[in-house]
């Protein structure tokens, strides 16, 4: 099973996580057109490449962001959304797989 590093709990097997989909910024609902909103709601950037994604560590209830390449399935870094501006991803805790 693939391993994923939760910024709070360290490296864990994928079975402990829930995939939350791509992290996306919504257009301004007050100013965008219906078409723009429909595109935001339904369309996805499905082409392979580096994505910012939501992942949820179920046992601890931690939502975090993973920067993952959807072609190689390699994760570049993971961090809490609140640490999004941190240059470096938080290192995994001392305990981890």
């Amino acid at each position: 099973m693939k391993l994923l590093t939760c910024p709070m709990n360290g490296s864990r097997p994928l079975s402990e996580f829930v995939f939350g989909g791509e992290y996306r910024e919504s257009p301004n609902p007050d100013t965008c057109t219906d078409k723009e909103w429909a595109a935001y709601v339904h369309n996805r950037s499905g082409a392979p490449g580096n994505k910012k994604e939501w992942w949820y560590h179920a046992p601890s209830g931690t939502w975090f962001i993973a920067e993952r390449n959807t072609l190689s399935d390699k994760v570049a870094r993971t961090y809490l959304l609140t640490d999004a501006n941190a240059q470096q991803a938080k290192p995994a805790q001392e305990y981890g797989q």
Partner: protein, 969 residues
Amino acid sequence: MTLRLTTQIGEWINRNKHIHFTFEGETYSAFEGDTISSALWAAGQKVLGRSFKYHRPRGVLSFANHDVNVLMTDGMDTNIRADVVAVKDGMVLTAVNTKGGVKHDKNRVIDAISPLLPVGFYYKAFHTPRRLFPFWENIIRKSAGLGVVNVNYPRILKRKLHAHCDVLVIGAGAAGLSAAYHAAKAGLQVTLVDENRQAGGSLTFDLGGDAKPQQVLDDLLRKVTTQPNITLMTGSYAAGYYPDHLIPIVSDTGITKIRAKTVIVASGAFEQPPVFRYNDLPGVMLGSAAQRLIYRYGVKPFNKGVVVTANDYGYRVAIDLLDADTEVIAVVDMRKGSNASPDLITLAKRGVKIYAGYCVYEALATSDKSAVRGVVVCPYDDQKNVALTHDSVTLACDGIAMSAGWAAAAALLYQAGTAMKFSYEVQQFVPNTLPMGMFAAGKVNGIFELSQRLHDGVRAASEALRYLGLEAAEVAAAKHMGSTPSHPYPMVPHYKAKNFVDFDEDIQIKDFVNAAKEGFDNIELMKRFTTVGMGPSQGKHSNMNAIRILAKIRDLPVEKVGSTTSRPFFHPTPIGHLAGRSMHAHRLTPLHDWHQQHGAVFTDIGAWKRAAYYPAPGQHKDEAIQAEAMAVRTSAGMIDSSSFGKIELHGPDAAEFLERFFIGVYANQKVGSCRHVMLLDEAGVIIDDGVASRLADDLFYLSIGTTNAAAVYREMQRYQQMWQLNLGLVNVTGAFGAVTVAGPAAREILSTLTDLDLTYEAFPISRVRTSVVAGVPARVIRVAFVSELSYELHVPMLQVPHVWQALLAAGEKHGIRPFGSDTQRLLRLEMGHMMPGVDTDGLTNPLEIGVDTHKYMQKAYFIGQRSLAILAKRPLRKQLVAFMLAEHFQGELPLECNLVVDGRDILGRVTSIAYSQTINRIIGFAYVTPAQTAIGSVFNIRTDSGTLVEATVVTTPFFKSTSQQATGA
């Protein structure tokens, strides 16, 4: 006639333990440690199986589980790999896939008509006329397949364990043992696995009359077994490679899923059969198989034989045969001219004739095709790939040992994403670029000479050490010296064919030629069309030859042809092993055993088990539900609602969070009041609903449906991450339970258990109070979901049984009775409440269920608001209405999901329907077109049997309690 030899050094059998078993009705004796095949072979029984397609007699080929010539059943289990499965006392065995026994298999006629069954024949016939295909298909299905599955075979528990190590070494041959020892010496935790019952790999049988291999083995085993940080697992194979170095190790007892920091693959090589006519006869076997028979089981492969070889290895085999009192009349060396084999002279001295530059043109079968009676050899032009038959010689013998070359056992390397390259030095695919943390050593790495293999193990170990950041000396990679161990094209054409490449699937050279001519000249297409490598041995003995043949056909270098993708599993792996222990975790409320004792029928809702209803003995479901419902309408009922999702929102921004998260308005919600919440997704689709009770300015208590509770809470956490509001979310689903008491007598019953003022004025509908009930702190919520007069008592989970019992006692004189979640569905229907997931589906939006969204659209933002604005501009396609059937309706009752139709048009469907005893009418919800939503309009429901039933749109609630009940005035 026995072929059992005198005791061999290091043999794997215990000659003091005798075993008896039967095969095809005859009794045989064996020694403890024998495999089924070794015991039968020792007894001179050589026809051990029949082939998949042509039902040709088959015996030992690789004797290493690289072919499935020999599959047996013991009546219980089937497709038993007799070559490697230890024989047990009292076994009663037969070969699979025969008609009338392995010796006289009636299906052998198929072999005779095989010209009628060319490659892919089944694509080309049986389909016209169409109506006849089922007839042919039936015949084909019956003749295909291997063993018969015993449907009474018991479910077996095999444990699946997780384990971790620094270095996982796969293969305990010379390279693997040496790698494991050197890694362990440096202090790493090492796990060493080997599929054989004993470690040693080819050191246990590839002697060539030389004592050195066994000395090396003894030395390595001593070191490895005395090294405390090495775990040696024999009889265990690495079944596949999965991301991040997860490798399941399969043994008889179960699976160990090893997560390794590094992996050293020292899995060796599969010996490949040269291809010539009748190379599948019992008695024709690989050189390594002959050696395994001799040194592991003390069994003579045959009495008088010929060795056909294309490398020096065959000469060693010849010597081992001689040492095993086997007459070797000739070594047929497919290589031109003389060669450097050091054993040449030895053999000549011992009277073995060497035919250099010769090939085996064909093996000669005894009359019943069950054994070898001789071999035809002739000069071989390996440039032109022709056998020069004019100079052929016929030699009488009863066996042939074949040593033409090898294929890397690289399955795991491929699966891990290793880029392989073809090495002409060894005529074999070898690793070119290995993935991070993976290393290869020994034959799989193209290293064959013993001392080099030992050295290669050390190299791999030191590379693994450095990868893990430890100090280790750079060790130069070994390079293969001398003649190539594999022949570039050990395949001898024969005009009468029956020269087999894939023994699983009975595929001959001509099948590849034909497939290519028909356009399947890509390795993957060829695999699919010929089915080469698709049998149970997954191409272990056939893929390499297939690649060579295709390369020759297309006149391409081997590496250009490439190879087919390697997939798990390395060996076919039992379903019971993979499944492991059955684990089904459920959430149970503390009342679960009470429900059980009172005859509840349970239903799974999410992870929870809920009581659906409580039938009296012999009582039908509907009767039970009606009776429970009537109790609620006439007196009182109570339900265990502990599985509700319950979430506390603490903090100044609690109301703001709800405003954004749900569709409703909460900013101005009064403390002590309850409001409906509805969650949408960004597309405006209804996800779930529930109730928000405001306990304080900065504290909301949210209760939501059981099914989605976990998902809803998860989404709340996600949005809080984004919004960073000043509040805390506390999921109290497991900490608080809930009991709902409902019905006209509910107030009176509850009043005996609490000081709370329950009068209508003090405690009207949609209010929450905090109090003490039956001595237990409780949040009392008055919602009119199942009855106008009903109280949800939310109390600490472990207190639920106490409160439940108290209510039962207090309600006894009112005839209070429990009701289940199914009854709740009826009650809420009578009250006119829709249920998400029942009355909505994956696309329903609030407009379609008649939610007046205008006041909500004024809010600054809520999830799904923008999409609702878009949807509001679009004409509604369907709308949910409440309906009733005619009074005293008789006839077939429509069911949920029956359609609302108008001729050929589907207008909608019934989402809820039930008979309400209270009002003695059949009531429900249905989707109809907006045109039909007016109260009093009539639509048609089509029942299962197709009859149309008229339904009339009505207002809700269906059931109106007397004001007396509501107000208690």
